[in-house]
Symmetry: D2
Subunit: 333 residues, 4 copies
């Protein structure tokens, strides 16, 4: 039985608490948050204790911590937790600073502790089925990958300002998805973006609509489309053209009901946002973490994966400003 | 907090145990089963006690029982539990004998205890969305209902022999679905059936493929198709033609991945069977029971509904033998 | 080059005129109609002459006639045309009277002339692909066939009164489709019907909504659903469950555009009615007729097929009145 | 009645000949081709004469010419035909050289003759329905356009060498589609491409897989994906995200049959190539040309549109070599 401390008590922490307590091989021991009320609420609901972070990290009976705090604390907490010998599952992104994330990567390496980054979409049943089909050679050699990833509505501009921008906050999931499907990082990143959904986002120095093209050393190409607003719901699709066919992972819909009237044939919308769409993925992510900590399987997403995605986000941020392709090697050579 | 005793510890009892313990307003206190090992397994997993049925029914601190025993015990247990003042959620069907079920109905009436029959499909998010759309008048006046309901594979013939036959065991769900969607029982039932999937089923006196047509007093018509075998998975669809359009509840698929090759465009199969398809429905069913016992809402499925569906099953059994329509009034006047 | 006379100049005659003139192996020589203006219009458009029917039948240079007159003239014209040595393609149904159609069948037999009945749906690319897949054994042994066939709007009651009723006028297409897919006629026909779309249709002694179940000697079952009104367009679907899977021929849609908004995901309606849906089928039907007359292939739909469908319509008409199954053998022994 | 001369007698000329002769308002008078046998074949089939091009252009009774010759002759023939006072429908592209096309544009301007470029996809019922919905404001303000356009198989490398390359030969359709949907040309073009399908294509200096991003002055973005090989058929999809929703024009399928087996749920492939997919579009294109020449409506695609698409092809060709965005203004100021 894996004993777990949960750092952070916000909305996503609650999702992880459910996953931890529902898993037959793990139990939630303690929760910490600077917002004590939030920590108490989660602790009460799931039968855990409220403690401070130091206490959790020093408790030798706790095997693992799940880091669901704000992004600017991730690197520090990963370093402190691994220094204390804990296995770590940390929410994405590793850090807003690529340099800081790489320093963290080095610090962790010496501890030998497993650190997994929470790229939950790899565990979505649709994307993992697509990956499995690619791996099985069902469409031959991959050639052209397309990722469509639209949020239902933009976050407040106040969030935009601290988020690191669309590429670090939102498209980072898609960068990791590209790495997951293609099995390797791209050579160069070419980004085009604009602020057309909400001028205030542009005013804050960010884009809300972007197309990023990834070029691979072997000639493969990937393209990622992001928009902060798709009023019909969370639009999360992947398609991959290969030498022997095409694979598409389509949206999950709210239900299967279809209505035919004089106005057309109408089905349900895509599930609204990540909690609706990815709830099964969070449970599968946690199960994979437990399995890896138990040594049954290798870590399915590593800190290296987190750094790789962050480098792509930094490259895209540069490219959208200069208009020129940015090579990944120039950033993390 | 509703304290619950679980009668029966088979596979479906396990599903209910999950629903009971996951619900914030109910807790599982005790489990009984003639198979003690099975009862012990569930009790251990969900933190309940193994007791015998008498003990559970006599325990005044237990508010409700969930009956998930074999069909031939349902009427007796419903009567004993309501006599003991318990609220009851009983798996379908009420009984194999319509006469016995009607006697049970009378016995229960005097106790005033809520008795809900476990027609789980009413709580499937797709069928309940369809029902809601009908109720909202989205397709005008209902005229012609079609229910397709195929199992992935036939049960063993040994089960067929004690199941009461296809109409009482399998199509009873569809009879209830028709009543749920149409809002009233039909006037007559006309059934055609054959044993074409497995001759041994015919040898046991049952059919494995059937089409039943329901005629309503106001001219509406419903048709139910059943087969014991659809090799591609559990096929569970409902469609309703109305004066202003058509509503269809389509199958749930295993995932959303679609592959296009020289062989065609291939998507995932429907979810395999009722556990895969209806797991969310079991949780919603339990939540509705808790809500009704708490008095917040009326019982969504009553013992009367159970008797009505059973009468339709009896009518279909008669009709398939005689070839003639059977009026429901001739059975339950 | 097959020289063709067209008997009748109504709307469907125009469709056939296009098929005849577009086919490289046939030419339209003459048109007749009691409505001379209609005949002149078609003749002018397609470069043919207006003649009277006798003249066309006596013209030895005319090889074939297409009969697209009113139903009550079909049997007479088939007999006269074959007596004159013409090959015949006659619109369905052969006749409203089964006895008259059988007499026609006998009369034609002695002439040796090919007579094809215009069951155009057999030539729809979707239904013919389904048939081909069945024939290739792609779903194993057929077990349960379902045909959904809804018109977009009911015809005028004046038409209902002379049409022979829903079973002879509308469902006759579906009876033939069942024979086409199943490869044999059923043993018995059980019909349920009502007048729920338009009470005037009931007043005229007909039904507008019907479910007919066909039982085959070997245990297979088919069910046909008809409604005179599906406001969203022409609903023409076939599905067949077999021992190894399910085949479905779905509706053709007006276009492939899908719109996702806060209101849901909306696609185009089915094509509106038979002219929109079956235009390619009429061309394929004519091509098959030319091929058969040329001796390259056997007739794909025979007068026997027309009589078989008519017998099923008569059986359904009887069954809906009596409530009892009607055996086909009792009608055509 | 518009009298038409057809210049060229290859495969696409045959498609146009069908459209011209099927239209009630036009007739095909003459055909010319340096391959006399090909010209004779078309002339015989459609009742036209074989003549040489000079003769056709000098014949005052001929109102319009359809130019379906090899690309390197287009500009010359457009100039000669308009100098002779003919209305012109010319196959795309106008020319492989942007400079030559612009000279042609100037030469034509002084004649006042209508010149339409054959961007047939604008007349596809799916894309035109999408355009109509955009124009009607059904998804609000357009923001992000995606065009997927894959051929089923690469052409011979011998063709690649004279085609002007993927951008001028294949993606030019998609550039025009972007202009059609977005209503204006982009400001800059950023292209990424590689030769991954067939190394010989790379050897010939071309790419076979490409992603081109278009940036518009107002912040809108479009992305076009091309591949020379999609083994499952012609993949032609457009999707447009707007402030109020998403519009998608999906592929046409060979038929509507769906098969469910233990292997999954399989439907038909997309129609194989442009003749299968766009046959209705060619007829609609010709009808729109006739309507415009008659003065009933403005020309739906102009020579300016042809030049605009060609400029985008030239920009993409430059960008794929340099890696940098290319501004359209730098090419056609």
């Amino acid at each position: 039985m894996l004993k777990v401390g949960l750092l952070g008590a916000g909305r996503i922490a609650g999702v992880h608490a459910t996953a931890i307590t529902s898993h037959p091989g793990s139990s939630l021991v303690a929760v910490s948050d600077i917002n004590t009320a939030a920590a108490q609420k989660i602790a009460a609901q799931y039968g855990a204790e409220v403690r401070d972070t130091d206490n959790i990290l020093q408790d030798r009976t706790i095997d693992a911590v799940l880091i669901a705090t704000s992004t600017d604390t991730h690197s520090d907490l990963i370093e402190r937790a691994t220094a204390a010998g804990k296995a770590v599952l940390c929410e994405k992104p590793v850090d807003l600073s690529l340099a800081r994330a790489r320093a963290c990567q080095e610090a962790v390496a010496s501890t030998g502790c497993p650190v997994m980054i929470g790229f939950n979409r790899r565990f979505d049943p649709n994307f993992s089925a697509l990956k499995k089909a690619v791996h099985a050679g069902e469409i031959g050699k991959p050639e052209l990958l397309s990722i469509t990833s639209f949020d239902p509505a933009p976050p407040p501009v106040s969030y935009i300002k601290v988020s690191g921008g669309l590429f670090r906050d939102m498209m980072i999931h898609d960068f990791d998805m590209a790495n997951f499907i293609m099995g390797t990082a791209p050579a160069t990143v070419t980004a085009v973006g604009s602020s057309i959904v909400d001028p205030e986002i542009g005013g804050a120095g960010d884009v809300d609509t972007a197309v990023v093209t990834l070029s691979y050393a072997d000639g493969r190409i990937a393209v990622i489309k992001n928009s902060r607003r798709a009023v019909y719901g969370y639009d999360q699709r992947v398609e991959l053209l290969g030498s022997d066919g095409l694979l598409q992972a389509q949206n999950m819909l709210e239900n299967t009901v279809v209505k035919s009237t004089t106005q057309g044939v109408t089905g349900a919308k895509p599930t609204y946002f990540f909690l609706e769409r990815y709830m099964p993925a969070y449970a599968a992510e946690w199960a994979a973490f437990v399995e890896a900590v138990d040594g049954a399987k290798p870590l399915p997403v590593t800190l290296d994966d987190g750094v790789a995605a962050l480098a792509m986000a930094e490259a895209a941020t540069l490219s959208v400003r200069t208009g020129a392709p940015v090579s990944i090697a120039s950033l993390i050579g």
